[in-house]
Symmetry: C2
Subunit: 368 residues, 2 copies
C-alpha cells in the first residue's frame, strides 16, 4: 500500500496529486439527507460498500442507523470484517470452492449473508458451511428486469427457498431484488415504471411463498437512483443505496425530483496542471488511471467555462477560457465513483479546506 498523499492538518492545496478527496461536510450532509428522507418509514438501510470499499465509512453508516452493509465480492467482505464491520450481505452469487471456503470462514467473525440463484451452488454452500459449523443467511436473488444474475419469480425460485430451508444450519434471509440498470435511467418516470414492474415480480414471488406457507423474512434491494420507489411500493423491507454518500457526475445527470432527494458531490479527484500547451488548454496529471471513464469523463468542480475534454492513461485535457496556470490544483468530479475509488489506497478527508483524516480504501482491488 502506498503512503498517503497527505497528512492531517495539511491544507487541501498542499495535498500531493492525484488524490481522492472526500469533503466531509458534504459527505455527512448526504448521510443526513438519506436519514431525513426515510424519517417515519419502516425501512431498514443496508448501504452498499461496493461504492466506498471502506471499513471506516461502513462503521459510520452503521452508527448512523444502518443495519449493516452489502458488498459484491468475498474478498471485499474479508477486508470489511478485518476492519471491524459486524454485518455484511454479499449481494451477489459466490461460485467456486475457494471463494465459498473464504466466505464460510468469515461467519464466526460477523453476520454474513450471500445470494444464490442456482441449486448446485446452493448445495455447495450448504455443504461447506455445514462442515465448518458456520451459520450463513442465504438470500434467493430474483431476476427483476436487469438481465444479470438471479432467477425469475416462479417455481424455480421457490425450489431454491425450499432447499435453503432443508439445511438447518442455513437461515433463509429473504429475497434479493435489485435492478441495477434502473438506477441510471435518466427520467423519474422511466425509473418509476421499471421499479413498479420489478415490484410486481417480487409481490408474485411473495404470494408463491405464502401459498407454500413459507414466511419471507425480508426483501432487500434498491439503489441511490430509485430507492424511494421501492420504499413507496411497500414491497421492500431493506434498501441498499451505495453512491448516495458520494454522488458522481453520471448520477448527477439523472432527473432528481420528489420523492427522491438530491444528494451532493462529496467525492473528488484533486489534480495539478502539469503542462500549459496553449492559452486555451491545460494538461492535468489525472487521466483514466486516476478517474474511471466508463460512465463519462470527470467534470470540473466550480470552474465555469472549463471542460475536461479527453483522458489518456495519466493525462487529462482541460480546455476552455480562463485556463489555470502551471502548478494550480483543480478538483474533478469523477464520472463514476465506484471504479474511481477502486484506483486509490487512501481517502483524503477534508473539512473546510483542511485535511482532517486519512481513511484506507480497505477493499481496494478486492475483486475475487
Amino acid at each position: 500500500m502506498l503512503p498517503p498523499p497527505a497528512s492531517p492538518g495539511q491544507r487541501l492545496g498542499d495535498v500531493d496529486t492525484p488524490a481522492l478527496v472526500v469533503d466531509l461536510d458534504a459527505f455527512e450532509r448526504n448521510l443526513s439527507i438519506l436519514r431525513e428522507t426515510l424519517k417515519g418509514r419502516k425501512i431498514r438501510v443496508r448501504p452498499h460498500a461496493k461504492t466506498h470499499k471502506s471499513a471506516d465509512i461502513s462503521k459510520i453508516q452503521i452508527a448512523d442507523g444502518a443495519v449493516g452493509v452489502c458488498c459484491q465480492k468475498v474478498s471485499e467482505a474479508q477486508a470489511l470484517v478485518e476492519g471491524g464491520v459486524p454485518d455484511i450481505l454479499v449481494s451477489n452469487e459466490v461460485v467456486g470452492a475457494q471463494k465459498i471456503a473464504r466466505l464460510v470462514a468469515l461467519a464466526p467473525k460477523a453476520r454474513i449473508g450471500v445470494c444464490v440463484d442456482n441449486l448446485r451452488n446452493l448445495r455447495d454452500i450448504a455443504a461447506a458451511s455445514g462442515q465448518a459449523g458456520a451459520r450463513l443467511d442465504l438470500y434467493v436473488e430474483l431476476e427483476v428486469g436487469m438481465a444479470r444474475c438471479g432467477v425469475p419469480p416462479g417455481p424455480a425460485a421457490v425450489e431454491l427457498v425450499k432447499e435453503i430451508l432443508r439445511h438447518p444450519h442455513l437461515r433463509f434471509g429473504g429475497l434479493q431484488a435489485y435492478h441495477g440498470r434502473a438506477q441510471h435511467l435518466r427520467t423519474m418516470e422511466e425509473r418509476r415504471d421499471v421499479i413498479s414492474r420489478a415490484a410486481e415480480g417480487v409481490k408474485r414471488m411473495k404470494e408463491l411463498l405464502r401459498k407454500e406457507n413459507i414466511e419471507c423474512p425480508l426483501v432487500t434491494g434498491a439503489g441511490s437512483g430509485t430507492f424511494m420507489f421501492e420504499v413507496e411500493s411497500g414491497t421492500w423491507d431493506e434498501i441498499q443505496p451505495g453512491s448516495y454518500v458520494f454522488m458522481d457526475a453520471d448520477y448527477a445527470r439523472n432527473e432528481w425530483k420528489a420523492p427522491l432527494p438530491r444528494f451532493e458531490h462529496s467525492l473528488f479527484v484533486l489534480s495539478t496542471v502539469m503542462s500549459r500547451p496553449s492559452d486555451r488548454m491545460a494538461i492535468l496529471d489525472a487521466g483514466l488511471k486516476a478517474s474511471s471513464v466508463d460512465s463519462g469523463l470527470p467534470e470540473i468542480w466550480k470552474r465555469p467555462g472549463l471542460e475536461y475534454t479527453h483522458a489518456s492513461d495519466e493525462h487529462g485535457w482541460l480546455e476552455g477560457s480562463d485556463v489555470p496556470p502551471l502548478g494550480e490544483k483543480v478538483l474533478l468530479v469523477p464520472g463514476h465513483c465506484d471504479p474511481t475509488v477502486n484506483l486509490y489506497d487512501w481517502y483524503v478527508c477534508v473539512r473546510k479546506g483542511k485535511v482532517e483524516a486519512l481513511w484506507p480504501v480497505s477493499a481496494r482491488g478486492a475483486h475475487y
Copy 2:
C-alpha cells in the same frame, strides 16, 4: 496488498478469479520478436513500464538488452527503484515541490531522467537537485502532433536546452518525442504519415541545436504501434514501446504489416461463470473493476461464437452459442492492458497451464 490468488505449481484452472494471468511463453516470444525485429539496427530500447508497472518485468527487459525503462509518475519510479531497477526515465513532466523532492531523492539510487517543457518548472527541478547534490538527466519534451505536453520544435525549445546546460549538475539527456495518438491509428499508412511528420519536427529541432553548437545526445520516443517508423526514419536513437510485452484487444485491432511485427496476446484476465440466466447467456465474475473498458470491452480467448457484450462494476455478460456452464473458467483479453494491470496486485505467471511464478504489480496505483 491482497494475498495472491494462486500459488506456484497450481493448475491454471484452479486459480481463484478474477486473476491477471501472464502466459510466459507468449510473453517471452514478444521479447524475442522485438529483439529480432531490431537485429542489426543501431537503436536503444527503453521499454515503457507504465504498461506493466513491474520491477520483475523491467529487470527481465534490461537483461534482454534494454538500457533501462520509462515510467510516467514519480511514485512509479519510486516503486521500480525500490524493486532494483537501475535506470529510469520519467517520460513526463514532474510539477510541484513534493513530486520534485521525491524525484530528486531517487537520484543517488538509480540513473534518473525526467522531461521538461516549461522554464519555471525546469528551474524548480534545477534548484531542488542542486540543493540535494543530485544529478539528473533532463530531456526537453517536443510536441510532435499529439497535442498534449511538450513544446513545439523552435526557439522556445532551444531556450529550454540552453537553460539545462546552464546548470552544471544537470545533464542534457536529449529530446523526448512521442506521439501517443499515433499508436492506435488503425492503418499502417496513417501511422506512417503521422510519424513522418513528427520526424520532420524532430529534425528541425536538431538542426536548430546544431546551429547553436549544441550536441543533442539522444532522441527518445515511439510506442508499440509505430516504433519501426521511428527506427527507419533514422531520427530516433531510442524507442519506448510498452504494450508489446502483453498486446491488448485494442492494439490487435490495428493493421500489422512489415516493418512492424505482430506481437502475441500474453496478458489475460481469468474469470469464472457465476450465473447462467439462460441458454445463450453466462454472467462472469469479471466486470469493469477487473478489465478496463476505456478502449473497448475485453475479448473472449479461443472460444469462437462467444462474445463479452456488457460490463458492470463486477459482472461481465457473455453471450453466444455454446455458453460455458456454471463454475467454468474463461480467459479474457483486456481491451487496454495498462489500466487493467493497474487494477491488480499480482501477476499470475503461467507456463503450459501451470503457475510458475507470482510477480507483484510493484507500481500498482502509483499515480502521484
